[in-house]
Amino acid sequence: MTARGNVGKWFMVAAMWLLAIVFIAPFYIAIVTSLKSPAESALSGISLPQVLHFENYVEALKMSSFFLALKNSLIFTIVSVILIVFCSSSAAYIIARNLNKRYYRFWEKIFLAAIMLPFEVIMIPTYKFLYEVDLINTLAGAIMVKVGLSIPFAIFMYIGFIKSIPRELEESAKIDGAGPIRTFWQIVFPLLQTITSSLIALQMMWTWNDFNVSLILLQKDAVKTIPLQQFIFFGQYTSNFNLAFASAIVSMIPIYLFFGIAQKYIVSGLTAGAVKG
């Protein structure tokens, strides 16, 4: 019995290591390709590079206007996430505390339904609308759309969390004469720290990697974010994979720097969202 159990466990651990190698292999291929010359990777896609061609990186950075895209991505992501947190936390608070009223229940239902709305359904009218108000190809327009699209999920997460917070603290703040806005930002908002950090991490990741919204709304070079700029760059450099991979690796650096810090919050955010749903 125990011998059989041990064999089973040994087999399981071996299988997990094998799966881990399969999962990490694409990263390995990306890194070695980025350091090879075209001739070398034509010979073999999986071998280690003979000489490290770091000049791929220098050239890729020059050609892909990486820093402009990085700046656009930073503005797009940071401003969107701040607005998402600011708007949805306060809206969720007022909804969660007034669920006995029909008006607030109505909004709760609307936001819940909007979580399921695919962007494709409103893609054409959004494009037309931003075109008409002259916000097409501006970061401001894309931020507005991204915030509006992200708010429903954030509100849903906040409402679930706020429901579990007792009202006593707010009541006593009210007795001390604090207005509702001050009560929220000084007393309630700090209590939401767990869910706020999860939401910031998730929304940062999703906004940074956004493709759909930027594809439709940011079509000029000056406003392109990293995923979009890479979409174009990869399309142009299919003949030189090494340069394209160097640029891919560079753009992974900010994601994984952030990921290293925020993975814990991303995981807890996903879990909280799933449990509530």
Binding site: M12, S44, I124, K128, P152, F211, P227, A248, V267
Partner: protein
């Protein structure tokens, strides 16, 4: 009293107004003004189109190309949902065992979720085009009509099963260990324990994962645009990409918007059906 009430509802509005502004301009206005577009022959370029009534909606039924994108999206959504959940469940069951290396495994399986779809697709296109032919001597699977959907699925399974895995891990760790102990005493083997105890108890996470994966894969646009551009020969032009192409390529934005509402109907119906089916099988703990 009255004044107090007005003051209260005013201050309540200050909490809601910023949200409602964004939500109105980014979601509600486009959603409803879309009907205005769907009733016209707008081409996506000129300022506006002419009113043509329900013609776009009627034309959907005469469109010989309409079945293909629906079929492609449904095929991809079924494959993707099945494999993401199968792989994620296997990974979650694996890493919740006690063994050396499980922490690093968890991290490795979750790593691809941080990549943008563009990056994931780019890496895999290279693997399909250069590396697999080199190792296995096969031709590029994403360039062939018969294998393009499975090949695209593999990319999103790799890139997306980390999220489902995390949700399964959370569900698995909430299953009380006493249940396993008593089942062991009763002589249940590992397979029995898995199918009779573990899976029924984590049914709620199946509901959420399967519903979310299926509805979001139905609306996959970027994947096919970036990976294949809809090719070869339209064999991967999904619903979302067909709508996108109607706006930017075929110059039939009005028709595209009518399609968008049909598409929403498909997504909503499948979401409701799936979540009802799985909800029924959930066990209260």
């Amino acid at each position: 009293m009255r004044i107090n009430q007005i003051k209260k509802s005013l201050s309540n509005s200050t909490f809601l107004i910023p949200t409602l502004l964004f939500f109105f301009f980014a979601v509600m206005y486009p959603f409803f003004s879309g009907f205005n577009i769907a009733f016209t022959n707008w081409d996506g370029i000129s300022p506006k189109g002419e009113f043509i009534g329900l013609n776009n909606f009627i034309n959907i039924f005469h469109d010989p190309d309409i079945i293909r994108p629906i079929r492609i999206s449904v095929e991809y959504a079924l494959l993707n949902t099945f494999f993401i959940n199968l792989v994620a469940l296997i990974l979650a069951l694996g890493v919740t065992n006690a063994y050396r290396g499980r922490t690093i495994h968890r991290m490795i399986f979750f790593m691809p979720t941080a990549l943008s779809s563009v990056l994931a697709i780019f890496i895999w296109n290279y693997i399909y085009g250069e590396v697999l032919p080199e190792i296995f001597g096969i031709s590029n699977p994403i360039a062939s009509m018969s294998t393009v959907i499975p090949a695209a699925t593999l990319i999103t399974v790799w890139g997306g099963c980390g999220v489902a895995m995390v949700i399964y891990i959370a569900a698995l760790s909430s299953v009380p260990t006493e249940m396993y102990e008593s089942a062991k005493v009763d002589g249940a083997n590992a397979m029995h324990r898995l199918f009779k105890i573990t899976l029924p108890l984590i049914m709620a996470s199946f509901t959420i994962n399967i519903t979310i994966n299926f509805t979001s894969s139905l609306s996959s646009t970027g994947l096919f645009l970036v990976a294949t551009g809809g090719g070869p020969a339209g064999s991967s032009e999904s619903m979302g990409l067909y709508i996108y192409n109607n706006l930017f390529i075929y110059n039939r934005a009005g028709y595209g918007q009518a399609l968008a509402y049909l598409f929403l109907l498909i997504v909503v119906i499948s979401g409701v059906v799936l979540s009802t089916i799985f909800r029924k099988r959930e066990v209260e703990m």
